[in-house]
Symmetry: C2
Subunit: 306 residues, 2 copies
């Protein structure tokens, strides 16, 4: 089964969408929906809400479900959504995944359970197998979310291979936030029918050249236009233009990455929209202090953003 | 304020209680309550339900609340309970803590949020501060749960000191599962009014001698009687007897610790009670296979357990 053949599956540029919060640190549904609409208008093919960047694991399940409901009501096209549904608890991931698929999301992005460490591939396999079987929805497209610097859990290639074999047409892709270029190239090469998204737009062009689908990235919250231009130049076979744009994009990303990324992005959104509420962030993350914020705002080329 | 002076605060031997599960991996409330009653009868001063051993982070918030409700209904004395209420999400920890305190629990054992890594002390401080203030219950006694091998988060002494200073009479103790003897001794020495529990009965006598309160331990699910004898011998000033009993206890613990502890304890419970359902465990944890189970059952002195 060639899953890449499906037009419905996500591809290209996806923002790992920030979650704006009010003064009480509750998700601000109106600003969230407006941000999603703006990202699509700026060139994103899709939206990966409720991931690491979205502080999803700092939200309760009910808060995630309510925010998803608000997006639906705002008219964000559901087929653009690849929501994160990962959690430590099997029952939470099943509940979130069912809700996302019933709403019409194109798939779900699932972390490995990340509380216990060193659990071994059998336990991780059993977790994903239970998710697939309990969700029991033929629309299910499950993307494995690899981000070992947060989870402390390695999704190794033997495990990925075992999951693809066990659930063809269901376990169909991955977001790889390891930052490991070699691993991403190996995934593209060894699993040609598996959709590989780099977790950073720095590796976008290489991922596309290697046969991957694109990127799902935090910084795309503010780099959508330029990131989309790299994608389009590559798709049009304009290799030199794609390389030149990728170089600019890599520099732009680096100027943001010099700071803690999620707080930096929230400061940039506050500056770009004039809405100071964008600075709010749930603990354990912290806002950038004034000095670092001023550094950030003077070092990032604001005119190139959004 | 000398929090140690309060009779209501937990002290002594607390089991980090296992959560038995049915074939569908749902918590089995009846077996859970029976196990809690048996642990108290076997000498436990208290019960730390919903911790690492209890697979609490593999359960949804609603599953934790329903299991707590079942314990209340079964007549487990609420003043013996120190439930874990830790999660990655501020709102979940607040909800769980409120429910535990309203039910009459003696305190709550709170993990640092463990999804994000390297967040810094300010973010961790703000998390605990928000928990204390949002729970807003004068009965609140918050115990910091330090288990860096799972959380990937360090609760350093400067952070602990800052929390004690900010919330005297609320942030009153810790369970330290680092296994770091020096750290536990330092905590006892530097924070004399702070209740220090070792996360293993191997360090019980040293912790008591250093001025700590006792231990909260996984293996106490099956070692309660002997662990209590160490505590009582120490309390009675029978130092030689306490040392000898501690030595036996350390050997007993070591015989279990040679295996993955939670699966091993569930196998031991299945053997000791004759109830095979005790083997059930949620992914990502896995049951011991037959060979390791046979090894375990032949290497652990079963007659000394429970």
């Amino acid at each position: 089964m060639d899953r890449k053949a499906s037009e419905a599956d996500p591809k290209g540029i996806l923002a790992a969408v920030l979650t704006p919060m009010d003064e009480d640190l509750k998700p601000d549904h109106e600003t969230f929906a407006a941000h999603c609409h703006r990202l699509l208008a700026a060139g994103c093919h899709g939206l990966s809400v409720f991931g690491t960047t979205g502080e999803a694991n700092s939200l309760s399940v009910n808060e995630r479900l309510a925010a998803l409901e608000a997006l639906i009501e705002s008219g964000v096209p559901m087929e653009t959504l690849l929501p994160g549904t990962g959690s430590c608890a099997l029952t939470d991931t099943v509940r979130l995944s069912r809700a996302a698929l019933e709403a019409g999301a194109t798939g779900v992005l699932v972390l490995p359970p990340f509380y216990y460490k060193g659990v071994g591939d059998d336990g991780l396999f059993r977790f994903f197998a239970e998710v697939v079987e309990r969700v029991g929805d033929e629309r299910q497209r499950l993307y494995l979310y690899h981000i070992p610097q947060m989870t402390g859990v390695d999704l190794g290639l033997p495990l990925i291979s075992r999951l693809i074999d066990a659930y063809p047409g269901v376990v169909v892709g991955t977001k790889d936030s390891s930052g490991d270029r070699e691993r991403i190239m190996t995934l593209c090469r060894e699993f040609p029918d598996f959709s590989v998204f780099a977790g950073t737009e720095t590796l976008l062009l290489e991922t596309l050249q290697g046969g991957g689908e694109g990127c799902i990235s935090a910084t795309v919250n503010v780099t959508s236009r330029l990131t989309r231009r790299v994608y389009d130049a590559h798709a049009a076979g304009k290799d030199d233009e794609a390389e030149a744009l990728q170089e600019r994009l890599t520099q732009l990303r680096a100027s943001i990455e010099a700071y803690p990324v999620i707080p930096a992005l929230k400061q940039l959104m506050a500056r770009l929209t004039g809405d100071k509420q964008w600075r709010n962030i749930r603990p354990p993350l912290s806002s950038l202090d004034e000095k670092r914020t001023n550094d950030l705002l003077s070092n990032v080329p604001l005119a190139e953003l959004l």
